[in-house]
């Protein structure tokens, strides 16, 4: 009798385990289809990253807005991390006031294009006064002005299969965001800070502004934007230089 029960129990727990494993595999496929698995999902830390990214994405939806502040909240002190690119290509453009600078937008788009600073400034301009925190712990509030990335992406015609937008500056750093952040109304190609042209140390002529993530996702000194359905071909496939050097790809924290 006891034997039968234990055998039955064994079969039942076997079926339960198989169902659980199938369920888990199904859940992972479903999560991936809905963009809930970050590119740096590998390894032990990847479990925590996937939990954080997927739960925050589910909570946030696409349109939750970062808090906006008033002019009187703007920080007087804004420290800078990193230095402007030393490459000749950048230095020449800088010396020339970025007259010949172009932002190329390519990848999964109908009309790959290059935009001048004047082009971007000619598009509907938006301003936000938002909080930006560095992963180290410090933070500031600044006013950013720019064109919405979503507007520029509309101009080039993003393919329906697009899942990520990758940003390349004039140095070796690069990063990417998912479409939810790429199309978010507070995601700018920012060309002005606190009412003035973007200062060189803050990423002149144009930097990315992603209001719902940490500072390091706000790529400076932009040169090229690529729309893609997979991050695998880029670098080590982790979605950016940040995860390649030990910082999480998702920086909504």
């Amino acid at each position: 009798m006891g034997r039968i029960i234990s055998r039955r129990r064994l079969i039942v727990s076997g079926i339960t385990a198989a169902a659980g494993a199938t369920g888990l595999a199904g859940a992972i496929r479903l999560a991936d289809r809905y963009g809930l698995i970050p590119p740096d999902h590998g390894g032990l830390y990847g479990i925590g990253e996937t939990m954080t990214y997927s739960s925050q994405r589910l909570l946030m939806g696409r349109q939750s807005l970062a808090r906006e502040f008033t002019r009187s909240d703007i920080s007087a002190v804004v420290p800078v991390n990193g230095r402007p690119p030393e490459r000749d290509a950048y230095q020449r453009l800088l010396a020339d006031g970025f007259r010949d600078w172009r932002l190329s937008v390519d990848g999964l788009v109908a009309r790959p294009s290059a935009f001048s600073l004047a082009d971007l400034k000619g598009y509907p301009s938006h301003t936000q006064i938002t909080h930006q925190a560095c992963e180290e712990g410090w933070s500031f509030i600044a006013e950013w002005t720019g064109a919405r990335l979503s507007y520029v992406l509309d101009l080039v015609g993003v393919s329906p299969g697009a899942r990520y937008v990758v940003f390349f500056p004039f140095d070796d750093w690069w990063d990417s965001v998912d479409m939810a952040d790429a199309l978010h109304p507070q995601t700018y190609l920012a060309y002005a800070m606190n009412g003035r042209d973007l200062p060189t140390p803050h990423g002149a002529p144009v930097r990315l502004r992603v209001a719902r993530q940490l500072g390091y996702k706000n790529i400076k000194y932009l040169s090229r934007v690529t729309v893609t359905d997979t991050l695998e071909p880029f670098g080590r496939g982790l979605g950016g230089a940040s995860p390649e050097s030990g910082y999480s790809w998702w920086a909504g924290i």
């Binding site: 925590g48 502040f69 002190v77 410090w138 933070s139 999480s248 909504g252």
Partner: protein, 239 residues
């Protein structure tokens, strides 16, 4: 293990023991990684913003050691999820099994000033196992555990979530409740420090009242031996 031990109700229920150790590992990882993150910027501010060059509420007397704490954040979040999972399990089980009601909520007799005073006095004299805490928690333990479970734990979790820019966009009230993102970071630090303080006292008390017996009780459920006296006699002879 003889039948006498076997039949006895365990000192700690299995769910309490499992969640205790899982949370213990998670908490140690949180403290370790939390310190690493803090070392990247050991200054605390009040309000929404703060940076080098702005007035700090507290400048912790440690240098800016780690410019890079990416791994610290990876570990912090992994450990936080471990603690959230085991903490949720513990809370649900604690309500369903009436663990909180039976073992942690102090009775009015516990809370009588005479009793509180006596227990405190005994603790100060390190005379720790004279009273009935061998079989159940004394009033100071009950209050300490309730504070950690229902006050410090939720506080450290919510204040941590409050300096997430993503969550701030969903629940702005979470940030304003703490007085700004930097205030939330400062409160997170002090809530974490209070938990560290609790852990130190907790481990010292376990040591003083019979390390082996209490560890055995939290691992196997039973203090060991066949007699209740193994509890009563645990101080100061053991540990």
């Amino acid at each position: 293990m003889d039948s006498h031990t076997k039949d006895r109700e365990p000192r700690h229920a299995a769910i309490v023991r499992v969640t205790h150790w899982v949370s213990a590992i998670g908490t140690l990882a949180l403290i370790f990684s939390g310190v690493a993150i803090l070392l990247a910027h050991p200054r605390l501010y009040w309000g929404e913003t703060g940076a080098v060059g702005t007035p700090a509420l507290i400048h912790l007397p440690i240098p800016f050691l780690l410019g890079h704490s990416g791994w610290g954040r990876y570990l912090h979040f992994l450990a936080a999820w471990v603690c959230v999972a085991s903490g949720t399990l513990y809370l649900v089980a604690g309500v369903l099994t009436r663990h909180f009601y039976r073992n942690l909520v102090p009775s009015s007799a516990d809370l009588a000033w005479a009793n509180v005073g006596r227990v405190m006095f005994d603790h100060l004299r390190l005379k720790l196992s004279r009273h009935a805490e061998t079989a159940s928690y004394n009033v100071l333990q009950r209050l300490a555990y309730l504070t950690v479970v229902f006050l410090l734990g939720p506080l450290v979790l919510l204040s941590g979530l409050a300096f997430s820019p993503a969550l701030a966009s969903v629940m702005p009230a979470l940030v304003t409740m703490f007085g700004g993102q930097q205030s939330a970071r400062t409160i997170h630090f002090f809530a974490g420090a209070a938990i560290v303080l609790f852990l130190i006292v907790h481990v010292v008390m376990v040591g003083l009242t019979g390390f082996r017996v209490r560890m055995r009780a939290m691992i196997t459920g039973h203090p060991g031996g066949t007699e209740e006296t193994s509890w009563a006699g645990s101080f100061p002879g053991e540990g």
